[in-house]
Protein backbone atom coordinates (compact mmCIF):
# COMPACT_ATOMS: atom_id res chain seq x y z
CA UNK A 1 0.00 0.00 0.00
CA UNK A 2 1.42 3.43 -0.89
CA UNK A 3 2.36 5.49 2.15
CA UNK A 4 2.38 8.84 0.45
CA UNK A 5 1.52 11.71 2.74
CA UNK A 6 0.12 14.98 1.47
CA UNK A 7 -1.10 18.07 3.29
CA UNK A 8 -4.42 19.70 2.49
CA UNK A 9 -5.00 22.84 4.49
CA UNK A 10 -4.01 22.31 8.10
CA UNK A 11 -4.68 18.58 8.02
CA UNK A 12 -2.07 15.92 7.21
CA UNK A 13 -3.83 13.28 5.16
CA UNK A 14 -2.40 9.80 4.68
CA UNK A 15 -3.00 8.01 1.42
CA UNK A 16 -4.45 4.59 2.24
CA UNK A 17 -4.44 3.42 -1.38
CA UNK A 18 -7.17 1.50 -3.19
CA UNK A 19 -9.06 -1.22 -1.35
CA UNK A 20 -12.36 -2.91 -2.18
CA UNK A 21 -12.40 -5.58 0.54
CA UNK A 22 -14.45 -5.57 3.74
CA UNK A 23 -13.44 -2.96 6.29
CA UNK A 24 -14.40 -1.95 9.81
CA UNK A 25 -14.32 1.69 10.93
CA UNK A 26 -14.41 2.66 14.59
CA UNK A 27 -14.47 6.01 16.32
CA UNK A 28 -14.44 7.46 19.84
CA UNK A 29 -12.62 4.78 21.83
CA UNK A 30 -12.56 6.95 24.99
CA UNK A 31 -10.28 4.43 26.78
CA UNK A 32 -12.94 1.71 26.56
CA UNK A 33 -10.43 -1.07 25.92
CA UNK A 34 -12.98 -3.81 26.67
CA UNK A 35 -15.37 -2.65 23.95
CA UNK A 36 -12.54 -1.91 21.52
CA UNK A 37 -11.26 -5.47 21.74
CA UNK A 38 -14.79 -6.91 21.45
CA UNK A 39 -15.56 -4.75 18.40
CA UNK A 40 -12.36 -5.68 16.61
CA UNK A 41 -12.93 -9.40 17.25
CA UNK A 42 -16.47 -9.01 15.97
CA UNK A 43 -15.27 -7.22 12.83
CA UNK A 44 -12.63 -9.86 12.14
CA UNK A 45 -15.22 -12.64 12.46
CA UNK A 46 -17.42 -10.79 9.99
CA UNK A 47 -14.57 -10.75 7.55
CA UNK A 48 -13.06 -7.29 7.85
CA UNK A 49 -9.63 -7.22 6.26
CA UNK A 50 -8.65 -3.71 7.27
CA UNK A 51 -9.49 -1.80 10.42
CA UNK A 52 -9.65 1.96 10.81
CA UNK A 53 -10.01 4.17 13.86
CA UNK A 54 -11.08 7.82 13.52
CA UNK A 55 -9.56 9.03 16.77
CA UNK A 56 -10.30 10.14 20.34
CA UNK A 57 -8.57 7.21 21.99
CA UNK A 58 -8.68 8.62 25.51
CA UNK A 59 -11.02 10.36 27.92
CA UNK A 60 -14.05 9.06 29.82
CA UNK A 61 -12.80 5.50 30.46
CA UNK A 62 -10.10 3.91 32.65
CA UNK A 63 -6.43 3.01 32.13
CA UNK A 64 -5.84 4.78 28.79
CA UNK A 65 -2.64 2.84 28.09
CA UNK A 66 -4.58 -0.36 27.45
CA UNK A 67 -5.95 0.70 24.06
CA UNK A 68 -2.57 1.09 22.32
CA UNK A 69 -1.55 -2.61 22.32
CA UNK A 70 -5.01 -3.55 21.00
CA UNK A 71 -4.75 -1.10 18.11
CA UNK A 72 -1.31 -2.50 17.36
CA UNK A 73 -2.40 -6.16 17.56
CA UNK A 74 -5.08 -5.61 14.91
CA UNK A 75 -3.01 -3.23 12.82
CA UNK A 76 -5.69 -0.55 13.16
CA UNK A 77 -4.99 2.40 10.88
CA UNK A 78 -5.65 5.36 13.14
CA UNK A 79 -6.10 9.08 12.62
CA UNK A 80 -6.06 11.79 15.28
CA UNK A 81 -9.04 13.16 17.15
CA UNK A 82 -9.10 16.45 19.06
CA UNK A 83 -8.50 14.64 22.34
CA UNK A 84 -5.42 12.93 20.90
CA UNK A 85 -4.09 16.28 19.67
CA UNK A 86 -4.59 17.83 23.13
CA UNK A 87 -2.69 14.99 24.80
CA UNK A 88 0.07 15.00 22.18
CA UNK A 89 0.58 18.73 22.60
CA UNK A 90 0.38 18.56 26.41
CA UNK A 91 -2.44 21.07 26.49
CA UNK A 92 -3.80 22.04 29.92
CA UNK A 93 -7.31 20.85 29.11
CA UNK A 94 -9.22 19.02 26.42
CA UNK A 95 -10.66 22.28 25.06
CA UNK A 96 -14.10 20.70 24.91
CA UNK A 97 -15.71 24.06 25.75
CA UNK A 98 -18.91 22.83 27.37
CA UNK A 99 -21.40 25.38 28.60
CA UNK A 100 -22.63 23.75 31.81
CA UNK A 101 -20.18 24.13 34.73
CA UNK A 102 -20.72 20.50 35.77
CA UNK A 103 -19.80 19.32 32.26
CA UNK A 104 -16.57 21.30 32.33
CA UNK A 105 -15.77 19.76 35.69
CA UNK A 106 -16.39 16.23 34.34
CA UNK A 107 -14.26 17.02 31.29
CA UNK A 108 -11.47 18.39 33.49
CA UNK A 109 -11.44 15.35 35.79
CA UNK A 110 -11.35 12.88 32.95
CA UNK A 111 -8.71 14.86 31.00
CA UNK A 112 -6.46 15.26 34.06
CA UNK A 113 -6.76 11.54 34.72
CA UNK A 114 -5.98 10.56 31.12
CA UNK A 115 -3.19 13.14 30.81
CA UNK A 116 -1.46 11.90 33.98
CA UNK A 117 -1.52 8.32 32.71
CA UNK A 118 -0.27 9.02 29.19
CA UNK A 119 3.42 8.17 28.71
CA UNK A 120 5.91 10.14 26.63
CA UNK A 121 6.03 7.27 24.17
CA UNK A 122 2.26 7.34 23.76
CA UNK A 123 2.32 11.11 23.28
CA UNK A 124 4.89 10.74 20.52
CA UNK A 125 2.73 8.07 18.88
CA UNK A 126 -0.32 10.34 19.06
CA UNK A 127 1.69 13.26 17.70
CA UNK A 128 2.56 11.21 14.61
CA UNK A 129 -1.05 10.37 13.76
CA UNK A 130 -2.36 11.86 10.52
CA UNK A 131 -5.44 14.11 10.61
CA UNK A 132 -7.15 12.21 7.81
CA UNK A 133 -6.86 9.24 5.50
CA UNK A 134 -7.86 8.78 1.88
CA UNK A 135 -8.97 5.53 0.33
CA UNK A 136 -10.19 4.65 -3.14
CA UNK A 137 -13.05 2.14 -3.11
CA UNK A 138 -14.85 1.04 -6.22
CA UNK A 139 -13.48 4.08 -8.00
CA UNK A 140 -14.93 6.39 -5.36
CA UNK A 141 -12.83 8.81 -3.34
CA UNK A 142 -13.22 8.20 0.40
CA UNK A 143 -11.98 10.58 3.08
CA UNK A 144 -11.74 9.41 6.68
CA UNK A 145 -11.58 12.24 9.25
CA UNK A 146 -12.40 12.91 12.88
CA UNK A 147 -14.89 15.81 13.07
CA UNK A 148 -15.50 17.01 9.54
CA UNK A 149 -13.26 17.31 6.48
CA UNK A 150 -12.61 20.95 7.40
CA UNK A 151 -12.32 20.88 11.21
CA UNK A 152 -11.11 18.24 13.64
CA UNK A 153 -13.65 19.48 16.20
CA UNK A 154 -16.70 20.17 14.05
CA UNK A 155 -19.77 18.20 15.13
CA UNK A 156 -21.76 16.55 12.37
CA UNK A 157 -25.04 15.58 14.08
CA UNK A 158 -27.76 14.00 12.00
CA UNK A 159 -30.47 16.56 12.79
CA UNK A 160 -28.33 19.69 12.54
CA UNK A 161 -26.44 18.98 9.32
CA UNK A 162 -28.12 19.92 6.05
CA UNK A 163 -27.80 18.20 2.69
CA UNK A 164 -26.64 21.31 0.78
CA UNK A 165 -23.94 21.90 3.39
CA UNK A 166 -22.69 18.30 3.23
CA UNK A 167 -22.69 18.37 -0.55
CA UNK A 168 -20.51 21.48 -0.48
CA UNK A 169 -18.14 20.16 2.19
CA UNK A 170 -17.63 16.89 0.31
CA UNK A 171 -17.10 18.73 -2.96
CA UNK A 172 -14.53 21.04 -1.38
CA UNK A 173 -12.78 18.03 0.19
CA UNK A 174 -12.73 16.30 -3.21
CA UNK A 175 -14.45 13.28 -1.70
CA UNK A 176 -17.40 11.12 -2.79
CA UNK A 177 -17.70 9.60 0.66
CA UNK A 178 -16.73 10.98 4.06
CA UNK A 179 -16.45 8.95 7.26
CA UNK A 180 -16.31 10.81 10.56
CA UNK A 181 -17.00 10.45 14.30
CA UNK A 182 -16.62 13.10 17.11
CA UNK A 183 -20.30 13.25 18.09
CA UNK A 184 -20.54 9.73 19.53
CA UNK A 185 -23.77 9.03 17.62
CA UNK A 186 -23.78 6.96 14.42
CA UNK A 187 -25.79 7.86 11.33
CA UNK A 188 -25.40 7.94 7.57
CA UNK A 189 -26.99 9.80 4.70
CA UNK A 190 -26.75 9.28 0.97
CA UNK A 191 -26.72 12.67 -0.72
CA UNK A 192 -28.32 13.75 -3.96
CA UNK A 193 -25.74 13.10 -6.68
CA UNK A 194 -24.43 9.89 -5.15
CA UNK A 195 -22.15 11.14 -2.38
CA UNK A 196 -22.49 9.79 1.17
CA UNK A 197 -21.68 10.87 4.71
CA UNK A 198 -21.20 8.22 7.38
CA UNK A 199 -20.72 9.09 11.04
CA UNK A 200 -19.40 5.83 12.47
CA UNK A 201 -20.39 6.70 16.06
CA UNK A 202 -18.36 5.62 19.07
CA UNK A 203 -17.08 2.32 20.29
CA UNK A 204 -16.25 3.78 23.70
CA UNK A 205 -19.64 4.93 24.90
CA UNK A 206 -23.19 3.75 24.20
CA UNK A 207 -25.38 5.78 21.87
CA UNK A 208 -27.77 7.39 24.40
CA UNK A 209 -30.42 4.83 23.47
CA UNK A 210 -30.88 2.95 26.72
CA UNK A 211 -28.84 -0.08 25.66
CA UNK A 212 -25.29 -0.75 26.83
CA UNK A 213 -24.01 -1.88 23.42
CA UNK A 214 -21.59 0.34 21.53
CA UNK A 215 -21.46 0.76 17.76
CA UNK A 216 -19.06 0.63 14.84
CA UNK A 217 -19.44 0.73 11.05
CA UNK A 218 -18.83 -2.35 8.90
CA UNK A 219 -18.54 -2.07 5.12
CA UNK A 220 -18.88 -5.35 3.24
CA UNK A 221 -16.57 -5.87 0.25
CA UNK A 222 -17.23 -3.24 -2.43
CA UNK A 223 -20.00 -1.70 -0.34
CA UNK A 224 -20.37 2.01 0.24
CA UNK A 225 -23.30 1.66 2.66
CA UNK A 226 -22.36 1.22 6.31
CA UNK A 227 -23.82 -1.55 8.37
CA UNK A 228 -23.93 -0.24 11.94
CA UNK A 229 -23.00 -3.08 14.25
CA UNK A 230 -24.00 -3.12 17.93
CA UNK A 231 -21.27 -4.67 20.09
CA UNK A 232 -22.12 -6.43 23.33
CA UNK A 233 -19.21 -6.55 25.71
CA UNK A 234 -18.57 -6.95 29.42
CA UNK A 235 -19.66 -3.41 30.25
CA UNK A 236 -20.05 -4.25 33.92
CA UNK A 237 -16.33 -5.02 34.22
CA UNK A 238 -15.52 -1.70 32.55
CA UNK A 239 -17.90 0.19 34.87
CA UNK A 240 -16.23 -1.42 37.91
CA UNK A 241 -12.79 -0.57 36.57
CA UNK A 242 -13.92 3.06 36.13
CA UNK A 243 -15.13 3.17 39.71
CA UNK A 244 -11.91 1.63 40.97
CA UNK A 245 -9.99 4.35 39.14
CA UNK A 246 -12.06 7.07 40.84
CA UNK A 247 -13.73 8.29 37.65
CA UNK A 248 -17.11 10.06 38.06
CA UNK A 249 -19.97 7.69 38.95
CA UNK A 250 -22.03 9.44 36.25
CA UNK A 251 -19.66 7.97 33.62
CA UNK A 252 -20.09 4.44 34.96
CA UNK A 253 -23.85 4.96 34.98
CA UNK A 254 -23.77 5.72 31.23
CA UNK A 255 -21.77 2.55 30.59
CA UNK A 256 -24.32 0.49 32.53
CA UNK A 257 -27.55 2.09 31.33
CA UNK A 258 -26.76 3.29 27.82
CA UNK A 259 -28.09 6.77 28.61
CA UNK A 260 -25.79 9.78 28.48
CA UNK A 261 -25.61 11.56 31.82
CA UNK A 262 -23.15 14.37 31.07
CA UNK A 263 -22.16 16.80 28.31
CA UNK A 264 -25.71 16.84 27.00
CA UNK A 265 -25.91 20.53 26.13
CA UNK A 266 -24.06 20.08 22.85
CA UNK A 267 -26.87 17.84 21.53
CA UNK A 268 -29.33 19.34 19.01
CA UNK A 269 -33.04 19.19 19.89
CA UNK A 270 -33.87 15.87 18.21
CA UNK A 271 -30.87 13.99 19.60
CA UNK A 272 -31.47 15.48 23.04
CA UNK A 273 -35.12 14.45 23.01
CA UNK A 274 -34.18 10.81 22.33
CA UNK A 275 -32.28 10.50 25.61
CA UNK A 276 -33.79 10.60 29.07
CA UNK A 277 -31.51 13.23 30.68
Amino acid sequence: MPELTVRTGAMTVRNGGAFDGAIAVLGGVYSNHVALLAALHDARLRGAERFFCLGDLGGFGPNPGLVYPILEEFGVETIAGNYDRSLAERMADCGCGYTHPADNEFARRSYDYTNRRTTDGERAWLQALPGGLRLTRGGRRWLLCHGSPRRINEFLWESSTSDPFLARVLREAEADQVLCTHTGLHWQRPLPGGARLVNVGAVGRPANDGRPEVWYAYFAAASEEAEFVPVRYDHESLAREMEAEGLPPEFAETIRTGWWTTCLEILPAKERARGIH
Binding site: T99, S159, F165, P268, A269, H277
Partner: protein
Protein backbone atom coordinates in the same frame (compact mmCIF):
# COMPACT_ATOMS: atom_id res chain seq x y z
CA UNK B 1 -27.48 32.19 8.05
CA UNK B 2 -29.56 34.62 10.10
CA UNK B 3 -32.83 36.37 9.31
CA UNK B 4 -34.03 39.53 11.04
CA UNK B 5 -37.47 38.17 10.30
CA UNK B 6 -39.33 40.57 12.62
CA UNK B 7 -37.11 43.52 11.82
CA UNK B 8 -36.47 45.64 14.91
CA UNK B 9 -40.10 45.36 16.02
CA UNK B 10 -40.72 43.83 19.42
CA UNK B 11 -43.51 43.79 21.95
CA UNK B 12 -40.88 44.27 24.68
CA UNK B 13 -38.42 47.13 25.14
CA UNK B 14 -35.51 45.46 26.96
CA UNK B 15 -33.06 47.87 28.49
CA UNK B 16 -30.00 45.94 27.25
CA UNK B 17 -31.18 45.34 23.68
CA UNK B 18 -28.15 45.80 21.41
CA UNK B 19 -30.34 46.86 18.47
CA UNK B 20 -32.86 48.86 20.54
CA UNK B 21 -35.93 46.88 19.45
CA UNK B 22 -39.36 48.15 20.52
CA UNK B 23 -42.98 48.31 19.30
CA UNK B 24 -42.06 51.42 17.30
CA UNK B 25 -38.54 50.76 15.97
CA UNK B 26 -38.81 50.43 12.17
CA UNK B 27 -35.07 50.57 11.37
CA UNK B 28 -35.54 47.10 9.89
CA UNK B 29 -38.98 45.93 8.79
CA UNK B 30 -40.76 42.57 8.97
CA UNK B 31 -39.69 40.17 6.22
CA UNK B 32 -42.27 38.37 4.09
CA UNK B 33 -42.29 34.63 3.42
CA UNK B 34 -41.56 35.33 -0.26
CA UNK B 35 -38.56 37.50 0.63
CA UNK B 36 -37.15 34.83 2.99
CA UNK B 37 -37.73 32.13 0.34
CA UNK B 38 -35.54 33.95 -2.18
CA UNK B 39 -32.68 33.98 0.31
CA UNK B 40 -33.27 30.33 1.29
CA UNK B 41 -32.97 29.37 -2.38
CA UNK B 42 -29.69 31.25 -2.70
CA UNK B 43 -28.45 29.78 0.60
CA UNK B 44 -29.17 26.25 -0.59
CA UNK B 45 -27.21 26.79 -3.78
CA UNK B 46 -24.26 28.04 -1.70
CA UNK B 47 -24.34 25.08 0.70
CA UNK B 48 -25.45 26.92 3.85
CA UNK B 49 -25.96 24.62 6.82
CA UNK B 50 -28.45 26.17 9.22
CA UNK B 51 -30.92 29.01 9.66
CA UNK B 52 -31.72 31.35 12.54
CA UNK B 53 -34.78 33.58 12.84
CA UNK B 54 -34.79 36.55 15.15
CA UNK B 55 -36.04 40.10 15.55
CA UNK B 56 -37.44 41.87 17.30
CA UNK B 57 -39.97 39.26 18.22
CA UNK B 58 -40.41 36.71 15.40
CA UNK B 59 -43.94 35.81 16.50
CA UNK B 60 -45.06 39.32 15.58
CA UNK B 61 -44.54 38.14 12.00
CA UNK B 62 -47.82 36.52 10.91
CA UNK B 63 -46.01 34.24 8.47
CA UNK B 64 -43.44 32.94 10.96
CA UNK B 65 -44.76 29.34 11.05
CA UNK B 66 -44.78 29.10 7.23
CA UNK B 67 -41.29 30.66 7.12
CA UNK B 68 -39.99 28.09 9.62
CA UNK B 69 -41.58 25.33 7.56
CA UNK B 70 -39.74 26.56 4.45
CA UNK B 71 -36.46 26.76 6.37
CA UNK B 72 -36.84 23.26 7.82
CA UNK B 73 -37.10 21.90 4.30
CA UNK B 74 -33.63 23.35 3.64
CA UNK B 75 -31.88 22.61 6.94
CA UNK B 76 -31.96 22.87 10.72
CA UNK B 77 -33.65 26.01 12.04
CA UNK B 78 -33.67 28.02 15.24
CA UNK B 79 -36.16 30.69 16.27
CA UNK B 80 -35.24 33.22 18.96
CA UNK B 81 -38.21 34.51 20.91
CA UNK B 82 -39.22 36.10 24.20
CA UNK B 83 -41.99 33.46 24.31
CA UNK B 84 -44.56 35.98 25.54
CA UNK B 85 -46.73 35.37 22.45
CA UNK B 86 -46.41 31.57 22.53
CA UNK B 87 -49.90 30.29 23.18
CA UNK B 88 -50.45 26.54 23.59
CA UNK B 89 -51.75 26.55 20.00
CA UNK B 90 -48.56 28.10 18.62
CA UNK B 91 -46.36 25.85 20.75
CA UNK B 92 -48.26 22.86 19.37
CA UNK B 93 -47.76 24.12 15.82
CA UNK B 94 -44.00 24.44 16.45
CA UNK B 95 -43.90 20.90 17.83
CA UNK B 96 -45.71 19.65 14.72
CA UNK B 97 -43.16 21.41 12.48
CA UNK B 98 -40.32 19.86 14.46
CA UNK B 99 -41.81 16.36 14.16
CA UNK B 100 -42.41 16.73 10.43
CA UNK B 101 -38.81 17.65 9.64
CA UNK B 102 -35.75 15.44 9.72
CA UNK B 103 -33.86 18.51 10.90
CA UNK B 104 -33.96 19.96 14.41
CA UNK B 105 -36.07 23.00 15.18
CA UNK B 106 -34.61 24.82 18.16
CA UNK B 107 -36.68 27.31 20.12
CA UNK B 108 -34.51 29.78 21.98
CA UNK B 109 -36.20 31.77 24.71
CA UNK B 110 -34.66 34.93 26.17
CA UNK B 111 -34.91 35.35 29.92
CA UNK B 112 -32.60 37.40 32.13
CA UNK B 113 -33.38 36.22 35.63
CA UNK B 114 -35.07 33.33 37.44
CA UNK B 115 -37.61 35.67 39.06
CA UNK B 116 -39.68 38.70 38.22
CA UNK B 117 -37.48 40.71 40.59
CA UNK B 118 -34.32 39.89 38.63
CA UNK B 119 -35.83 39.70 35.13
CA UNK B 120 -38.38 42.48 34.86
CA UNK B 121 -36.10 45.46 35.63
CA UNK B 122 -34.24 44.53 32.41
CA UNK B 123 -37.00 43.06 30.22
CA UNK B 124 -40.03 45.01 31.44
CA UNK B 125 -42.88 44.78 33.90
CA UNK B 126 -44.79 41.51 33.61
CA UNK B 127 -42.38 39.97 31.12
CA UNK B 128 -41.21 37.24 33.51
CA UNK B 129 -44.69 35.80 33.97
CA UNK B 130 -45.48 36.06 30.26
CA UNK B 131 -42.23 34.33 29.26
CA UNK B 132 -42.69 31.56 31.83
CA UNK B 133 -46.16 31.00 30.39
CA UNK B 134 -44.59 30.53 26.95
CA UNK B 135 -41.94 28.18 28.33
CA UNK B 136 -44.65 26.10 29.99
CA UNK B 137 -46.53 25.90 26.68
CA UNK B 138 -43.38 24.72 24.88
CA UNK B 139 -42.69 22.09 27.56
CA UNK B 140 -46.30 20.88 27.41
CA UNK B 141 -45.97 20.53 23.63
CA UNK B 142 -42.93 18.28 24.14
CA UNK B 143 -40.30 20.79 23.03
CA UNK B 144 -37.01 21.38 24.84
CA UNK B 145 -36.29 25.11 24.52
CA UNK B 146 -32.86 26.64 25.02
CA UNK B 147 -33.10 29.49 27.51
CA UNK B 148 -30.74 32.32 26.55
CA UNK B 149 -29.52 34.61 29.27
CA UNK B 150 -27.58 37.85 28.86
CA UNK B 151 -24.73 37.78 31.31
CA UNK B 152 -25.38 40.55 33.81
CA UNK B 153 -23.26 39.04 36.59
CA UNK B 154 -19.54 38.99 37.44
CA UNK B 155 -16.94 36.27 36.76
CA UNK B 156 -17.07 35.24 40.40
CA UNK B 157 -20.83 34.64 40.21
CA UNK B 158 -20.72 32.84 36.86
CA UNK B 159 -20.84 29.20 37.92
CA UNK B 160 -23.50 29.78 40.58
CA UNK B 161 -25.68 31.78 38.18
CA UNK B 162 -25.57 29.08 35.50
CA UNK B 163 -26.36 26.35 37.99
CA UNK B 164 -29.22 28.39 39.43
CA UNK B 165 -30.78 28.67 35.97
CA UNK B 166 -30.59 24.91 35.45
CA UNK B 167 -32.24 24.22 38.81
CA UNK B 168 -34.87 26.85 38.18
CA UNK B 169 -35.84 25.48 34.76
CA UNK B 170 -35.97 21.91 36.01
CA UNK B 171 -38.26 23.04 38.82
CA UNK B 172 -40.49 24.65 36.17
CA UNK B 173 -41.10 21.46 34.25
CA UNK B 174 -38.23 21.37 31.74
CA UNK B 175 -36.99 17.79 31.97
CA UNK B 176 -33.90 18.64 29.91
CA UNK B 177 -32.97 22.19 30.84
CA UNK B 178 -30.74 23.90 28.27
CA UNK B 179 -29.12 27.24 28.98
CA UNK B 180 -27.05 29.51 26.77
CA UNK B 181 -25.29 32.53 28.25
CA UNK B 182 -24.43 35.49 26.03
CA UNK B 183 -22.22 38.43 26.92
CA UNK B 184 -23.64 41.93 26.94
CA UNK B 185 -22.83 43.98 23.85
CA UNK B 186 -22.29 47.62 24.73
CA UNK B 187 -24.30 48.97 21.80
CA UNK B 188 -27.93 49.96 21.19
CA UNK B 189 -29.99 50.59 24.29
CA UNK B 190 -27.33 49.00 26.53
CA UNK B 191 -25.30 52.21 26.11
CA UNK B 192 -27.93 54.07 28.13
CA UNK B 193 -28.29 51.31 30.75
CA UNK B 194 -24.54 51.08 31.40
CA UNK B 195 -22.08 52.57 28.94
CA UNK B 196 -20.65 52.13 25.46
CA UNK B 197 -17.29 50.71 24.44
CA UNK B 198 -14.14 52.51 25.55
CA UNK B 199 -11.86 53.58 22.71
CA UNK B 200 -9.33 50.85 23.56
CA UNK B 201 -11.87 48.05 22.95
CA UNK B 202 -10.75 47.71 19.35
CA UNK B 203 -9.12 44.68 17.75
CA UNK B 204 -5.69 45.02 16.19
CA UNK B 205 -3.47 42.65 14.21
CA UNK B 206 -1.85 41.83 17.55
CA UNK B 207 -5.14 40.46 18.96
CA UNK B 208 -5.58 38.21 15.95
CA UNK B 209 -2.09 36.69 16.09
CA UNK B 210 -2.58 33.04 17.03
CA UNK B 211 -6.34 33.52 17.31
CA UNK B 212 -8.44 31.03 15.36
CA UNK B 213 -10.65 33.20 13.07
CA UNK B 214 -13.12 30.29 12.92
CA UNK B 215 -14.17 31.22 16.46
CA UNK B 216 -15.55 34.53 15.21
CA UNK B 217 -19.10 34.03 14.03
CA UNK B 218 -18.67 36.43 11.08
CA UNK B 219 -16.17 34.00 9.52
CA UNK B 220 -19.02 31.56 8.77
CA UNK B 221 -22.32 33.42 8.86
CA UNK B 222 -24.30 36.42 7.66
CA UNK B 223 -27.48 38.21 8.71
CA UNK B 224 -30.27 39.12 6.29
CA UNK B 225 -32.66 41.95 7.12
CA UNK B 226 -35.24 43.85 5.09
CA UNK B 227 -32.36 46.15 4.12
CA UNK B 228 -30.00 43.51 2.73
CA UNK B 229 -27.20 41.23 3.91
CA UNK B 230 -25.38 42.40 7.05
CA UNK B 231 -22.11 41.13 8.48
CA UNK B 232 -23.59 39.83 11.77
CA UNK B 233 -26.66 39.96 14.04
CA UNK B 234 -25.10 42.41 16.50
CA UNK B 235 -24.05 45.14 14.08
CA UNK B 236 -27.10 45.52 11.82
CA UNK B 237 -27.36 49.23 12.65
CA UNK B 238 -23.66 49.98 12.12
CA UNK B 239 -23.09 52.18 9.05
CA UNK B 240 -20.67 49.69 7.48
CA UNK B 241 -22.63 46.50 8.32
CA UNK B 242 -24.38 46.09 4.96
CA UNK B 243 -22.36 43.87 2.63
CA UNK B 244 -24.72 43.59 -0.31
CA UNK B 245 -28.16 42.69 -1.55
CA UNK B 246 -27.45 38.99 -2.04
CA UNK B 247 -25.59 36.41 0.03
CA UNK B 248 -23.14 35.95 -2.79
CA UNK B 249 -22.19 39.62 -2.62
CA UNK B 250 -21.46 39.23 1.09
CA UNK B 251 -18.94 36.40 0.70
CA UNK B 252 -15.91 38.48 1.49
CA UNK B 253 -13.97 39.68 4.50
CA UNK B 254 -15.25 42.48 6.71
CA UNK B 255 -13.02 44.66 8.93
CA UNK B 256 -13.25 43.82 12.65
CA UNK B 257 -13.70 47.51 13.37
CA UNK B 258 -16.23 47.65 16.20
CA UNK B 259 -16.18 47.39 19.97
CA UNK B 260 -18.61 44.47 19.63
CA UNK B 261 -15.92 42.60 17.63
CA UNK B 262 -13.72 42.90 20.69
CA UNK B 263 -16.45 41.29 22.81
CA UNK B 264 -16.69 38.30 20.44
CA UNK B 265 -12.91 37.96 20.43
CA UNK B 266 -12.59 38.30 24.19
CA UNK B 267 -15.46 36.05 25.26
CA UNK B 268 -15.49 33.53 22.40
CA UNK B 269 -19.18 34.37 22.07
CA UNK B 270 -21.24 33.21 19.14
CA UNK B 271 -24.94 33.85 18.61
CA UNK B 272 -25.22 30.18 17.55
CA UNK B 273 -26.82 27.57 19.77
Amino acid sequence: MWFQVAGTLCNLTCRHCFISCSPTNHNHELMSRAEVRRYLDEARSLGVNDYYFTGGEPFLNREILEILEDALAAGPATVLTNATLLTPGRAGALAALERASRYSLEVRVSLDGPSAESNDPIRGEGSFDATMGGIAALAAAGLHPIVTVARTWSDAQDQAAREEFHRFLRAHGLSRPRVKVLPLFLVGREVERTHGYPAEAMLTQEHMRGHDPWLLQCSTSRMVTSRGVMVCPILIDAPDARMGRTLRESLRAHPLGHGACHTCWETGATCRN
